[in-house]
């Protein structure tokens, strides 16, 4: 077969087109593969709310708050861990509810995986995740009440893009969770506030925009943070 400059040109152009098509199609199919594996794991473990969990995972993946690999890693580790089936279901449903509420799950998943690696009793992991999920919901409500909204919701306040709002929710709630795990009292408002202030200050600039940190610290009162913590423990 005679190879001409013309045929080489065509091959190069065709390969480029093929590459572009693949790069457009591949991410979608790649994100489906782990989710299919998650479904297999859930169904083989006879988890009752499999459809609801999968729908929430799919939602999180499509909104960019959950990576397909994280979903698979979590499901795999959780279902393989020793512990009651009901505790596994509760952990999965807590994450499902968090996703349905459009709250971040990244830190919750990390906490579950850490607990399993540490061989912590699943009941203790379940408790910790439930508290931290409630903390996130509480922090979000406080931000709303202070006029800090997400994606154009609400009026007369400050509206942040979803990812920036999520960062505030996740890190304030995580600071409160760590404060609680460290034995801090919810009624010691100055200490609660200091824990949150320190966390946000550390992250200010690179991870969380400085303006968002200043906004949150200026508007949220120490007593409100203490109330969120108390509410999560009830």
């Amino acid at each position: 077969m005679k190879i001409t400059r013309r045929s080489i040109g065509r091959i190069v152009v065709s390969l480029t087109v093929l590459l572009l098509v693949c790069s457009w199609v591949a991410p979608e199919s790649l994100s489906q593969a782990p989710l299919a594996a998650v479904e297999d794991l859930l169904r083989s473990a006879s988890i009752p709310s499999t459809d609801r969990i999968l729908t929430a995972f799919q939602l999180g993946i499509s909104e960019g708050t959950l990576s397909p690999d994280s979903a698979l890693l979590l499901t795999d580790r959780l279902l393989q861990s020793s512990g009651l089936q009901s505790d596994k279901e509760t952990v999965l449903l807590t994450l499902t509810t968090t996703l349905e509420l459009a709250l971040p799950v990244e830190r919750l998943i990390d906490k579950v995986i850490e607990g399993i690696s540490r061989r912590v009793a699943l009941s203790a992991i379940r408790f910790e995740i439930e508290v931290r999920a409630r903390l996130q919901a509480g922090v979000r409500d406080v931000l709303f009440s202070k006029g800090i909204f997400v994606g154009g919701r609400g009026s007369g306040g400050t509206s942040l893009p979803q990812d920036r709002f999520d960062l505030l929710v996740m890190h304030i709630a995580d600071a409160l969770g760590d404060y609680r795990e460290g034995g801090g009292s919810p009624l010691d408002y100055p200490s609660v506030s200091l824990a949150v202030q320190q966390r946000l200050t550390y992250l200010s600039g690179s991870v969380i925009p400085m303006a968002d940190v200043e906004l949150a610290l200026a508007r949220i009162e120490p007593t409100e943070l203490g109330s969120v913590l108390l509410g999560a423990l009830e």
């Binding site: 990390d110 690696s117 991870v207």
Partner: protein, 194 residues
């Protein structure tokens, strides 16, 4: 009849002829274009694709030029930024010191003294709490690992011969977790390592 008279006669005859058939000239352009369009050979789907992929020699040259330009951009961007993102030097550090900001962006050193240990690993939020081995190549009892971390907050612990140890003196802070301790590093941040 001279030449000028003949030309005049012909011109007038032509004008008369045109004025008689002027109604037939109306819409002539449209009719012609329709007729010509109908006579054009029909393109198959493969022809259309072929014409899009390689419409002409000039088109192919243009496509190759775009391809070359794209490759050049990738090479230039890669050349400029990749060396900064993939550290290949081995920094000299003191125990517990982080070199994330000093040498290259994102390289963090983890050190732990464990003279009698046979295995030391690092677990944390950066590796899904899976073991990353530390090494003691000069057998001085100081175990070491280097990781390239993006800016953020990371919790971690050392596992020395199966025992978790989460109170790294080089950490930015220490937190309680599941009844034990985790060390925390802030990477690339105001209060952190880089």
């Amino acid at each position: 009849m001279n030449k000028d008279d003949l030309e005049l006669l012909l011109t007038e005859a032509f004008k008369r002829e045109v004025s008689v058939h002027s109604d037939r000239l109306e819409g002539l352009e449209f009719r012609l274009s329709e007729e010509l369009e109908g006579r054009l050979p029909k393109q198959s789907f493969a022809d259309v694709i072929r014409s899009v992929i390689a419409p002409s020699r000039a088109g192919r040259v243009g496509q190759l030029a775009v391809l070359a330009a794209t490759a050049a951009v990738f090479l230039i961007v890669g050349g400029l930024f990749l060396p900064k993102l993939t550290p290949h030097q081995t920094p000299q550090v003191r125990m517990g010191e982080s070199v994330a900001g000093a040498m290259t962006v994102g390289t963090t050193v983890f050190l732990v003294p464990a003279p009698n240990a046979s295995e030391v690993v690092l677990v944390g939020s950066f590796n899904n709490w899976e073991a990353t081995p530390l090494h003691d190549e000069d057998l001085d009892g100081i175990w070491r690992a280097e990781l390239a971390l993006d800016p953020g907050r990371y919790e971690y612990a050392f596992v020395v011969d199966g025992q978790w140890w989460g109170q790294d003196p080089a950490a930015d802070e220490t937190v309680r977790s599941y009844g034990g301790y985790n060390s925390v590093r802030y990477i690339g941040l105001a209060g952190g390592d880089a």
